[in-house]
Amino acid sequence: MAVGSIKSIRTKIRSVNNIKKITRAMEMVSAAKLRKVQERLMAVRPYASRISDFLTGLAGKVKNLDFPLFKTREQVKRIGIVFMMGEKGLCGSFNSNMLRFWNEFGKTHPQPKDVTAIGKKAADAVRKMGLTAADAYVNLKTDVSFGDIQSWTNKLMASFLEGKVDEVWVLYTEYVNAVTFRPRAVKFLPVQTEIKDKDEGGSGDYEFEPEPAKILDRLIPRYVQTAFHRLILESMSSEHAARMNAMHNATDNAKDLVSSLTLIYNKARQASITKELLDIVGGAEALKG
């Protein structure tokens, strides 16, 4: 083999090694981000579980539950959709799975939609489909503040209450564990709870200040915001975990590639040495003759 090809193999090995370094670094970064988001998920959990306890306890106290956020509308003419995707690519099938899921969802829910995009990829996808997102929130950080999430949720609630949309669905990626994620759709509004006038709930002898209905007025929006917060964090977890896996695989592939390239390189080098030796020996023989 020619000297030139030996050289080109060597360059290839070097560049694959560089790629390996980058993918490994990205894996580490995603792992760190995933940990951060997971910590936040853990921090939300006590609040979220208590607030839903509150809600079930209180709702049993109010005689005829008449909160517009709970009311299912008979005719669903227009639906609001929150479409959550990643901020960036290079995370395996995370974004493409969500996109496919979106198309399937569109088949079962043909109503006109108001879309709220969360994540840069979601905003891009919506634009590519020729739709205009009512709202798009991009450049989400791992420490996206609850205040931001509150104002997004308030907008969703407002458009539901004003009757612009009759249902709100959230399309997000459920985080099952570090290697399994599932695109999922949940009906977000009207609020789905199993409050079916059960009056036991342990809150039988509670006092209230002020009366339960007033507390509920404040509690329900907070409950909805918390639920939304959890969904966003879950989608983020999935994104980072997906990227971590994808980058881990890329690093492994790069390793394999380097070892097979090294083998070819060594073979080529050996062949050229042998060839040179043969040349020398051949030359010496010729001189002797």
Partner: protein, 137 residues
């Protein structure tokens, strides 16, 4: 010695306080409310203000709270706060800045927010600033 009970303050972002204490005073909807062990079960709305906590050793701690809900029971008291800060987490300059921001938003009638929300934001920011300034002295 007064009896102790478990007291917790949690926000959507973290658990701010979780300890056994002997008494707590909190800013309830209709005025400050004192809680000791054995209190009758109560659900209360909180308004922006400060929580004063006393431990068994007589030490006093304060937390600024931006409103929320309190679940009081005989052995346990839980506060679900919209936001809460201990004195070491607050900074006068930052509190002042956030008050200015909230006031400006109120003047400009920032779109997407109701009058109530903007008023509440100013009240929260004022409370935080008051708390931070007092602690500094």
């Amino acid at each position: 010695m007064a009896r102790e009970f478990q007291f917790e303050v949690v926000t959507p972002e973290r658990t701010v306080f979780s300890k056994a204490v002997t008494s707590v005073i909190m800013p309830a909807h209709e005025g400050y409310l004192g809680v000791m062990a054995g209190h009758a079960p109560l659900l209360a709305l909180l308004q922006p203000g400060e929580i004063v906590i006393r431990g068994a050793d007589g030490r006093q701690e304060e937390i600024a709270v931006a409103g929320g809900f309190a679940d009081v029971g005989p052995k346990k008291c839980l506060i679900l706060a919209d936001a809460a800060e201990t004195p070491d987490q607050l900074n006068v300059d930052r509190a002042r800045k956030s008050l200015e921001k909230a006031k400006k938003a109120l003047e400009e009638r920032k779109p997407g927010h109701s009058q109530e929300e903007l008023d509440a934001a100013v009240a929260r920011a004022e409370n935080r600033l008051r708390f931070a300034e007092r602690r500094k002295k």
